[in-house]
Symmetry: C2
Subunit: 244 residues, 2 copies
């Protein structure tokens, strides 16, 4: 059973301010909770149905597990659909990564679902680090975590002063613009930062100053733009084609 205090905490962690105050975040959904087994994260508690707990007894043995009904779990979680498992996890502390290898930088990407989808596709293409402007969505928002489909444990997102970060980077900064060199003909360097702006504002002037190469996804039809997560995935595919 979920106690009153536990329920209060689970609900509070839906809010950014409370996540920061407690240093904790929520991982919701069976697939995401099972991802915690192999992840280097400190799991405080797992709340789950008896079915889920017995089906995954061994995997979950090192966690503090609390049995709850599907009804209780659905009430406690931000997921609309049935939710057999929720975990409370410590927000890891990590340094801002050095600019090397292949990385993603996000400027003003404020939608949590888009950020989560970007984390997922980054993981697909083996990108370990995303640096994001401080006005990007919170990487520990439950909507973000959910959209990562388990990739949250393998990709580190660091919110930082993005223009300064890009300024001191000594590797190419590939900025995605509606006008730039086609990604089909760009010769990508083996190391580089892929810089994506938000759908509404694009890459802002402060970040644009540090772009070394403007790139674009060639269009063949009538659509004016692509979703930022979609565009990120397509460009990563073009990058990885040259540097696997």
């Amino acid at each position: 059973m979920i106690s009153k205090n536990q329920l209060k905490l689970l609900r509070a962690l839906g809010q950014k301010k409370q996540r920061k105050a407690h240093g904790l975040f929520l991982v919701e959904g069976e697939k995401n909770v099972l991802e915690l087994v192999g992840a280097q994260l400190t799991v405080k508690q797992v709340f789950a149905t008896s079915d889920f707990l017995s089906a995954n007894e061994q995997a979950l043995s090192r966690f503090d597990c609390i049995e709850a009904s599907l009804d209780e779990l659905t009430k406690a979680s931000s997921l609309v659909t049935n939710n057999a498992a929720v975990a409370i996890v410590e927000i890891p502390s990590h340094d801002i990564p050095e600019a090397k290898g292949l990385m993603i930088a996000l400027d003003g990407v404020s939608d949590p679902g888009n950020l989560g989808t970007i984390i997922r596709v980054a993981d697909w293409y083996g990108i370990k680090h995303i640096v994001a402007s401080t006005d990007c969505a919170d990487p520990y928002n439950p909507k973000t975590i959910r959209a990562t489909m388990g990739s949250f444990g393998r990709v580190q997102v660091s919110l930082t002063d993005l223009p300064s970060y890009l300024e001191q980077a000594s590797i190419p900064v590939y900025g995605a613009f509606l006008e730039g060199e086609s990604v089909h003909s760009t010769q990508f360097s083996a190391q580089g930062i892929l810089l994506m702006g938000s759908e509404s504002h694009g890459v802002r002037a402060e970040a644009e100053k540090h772009v070394t190469d403007k790139i674009t996804i060639p269009a063949f039809g009538g659509a004016e733009s692509l979703n930022v997560a979609m565009a990120t995935g397509i460009i990563l595919d073009n990058l990885r084609r040259q540097h696997s």
Copy 2:
């Protein structure tokens, strides 16, 4: 002002059964409504704020426009956020397209948002026709229309008996699987059908029988899968790189 009967109709068109009975669908949001100006669709009515109507007076002159408050419009629409315009549009009747050129086929893609995102990226890559199994999401679902970001007017989606359609097609059928030839090395034909399955079930056996080439997006990291719309966009980019 929106009359009681109009409000009733607007609300009814949120349901598939009612859309079918009336032969009408909803186009919500300013950008989507403005896309109707150049589209070959029969617009029955446009409900919009006075600001929107006066800003777009000339463009909307051939439509039957009804002024309404933002509050009325938000109540009438399925959009959560403020909505300055909603249109009622006739569902066009069209024949199932012949299998030629570049096309997309969808097997059991039941999420309306995914379908809308696929329509948008299809439009970006100049694909005009999508054929979909009858259990795919309704292309006239308001969530689908919204996710197309205006591309609904340029891409035709036909629900049909997909296995039969694929069986009689005389162009290659490229099926997306987790195991197949890498899209980075596939030599695509200038004509072909890109067949995508749902995230949960993949391409089902009945459709798989008609696949001529199994293809896959190479993975470099830890993610197990990609969202179906994302995967569609990445494969289309690989296709268009060879056949623009």
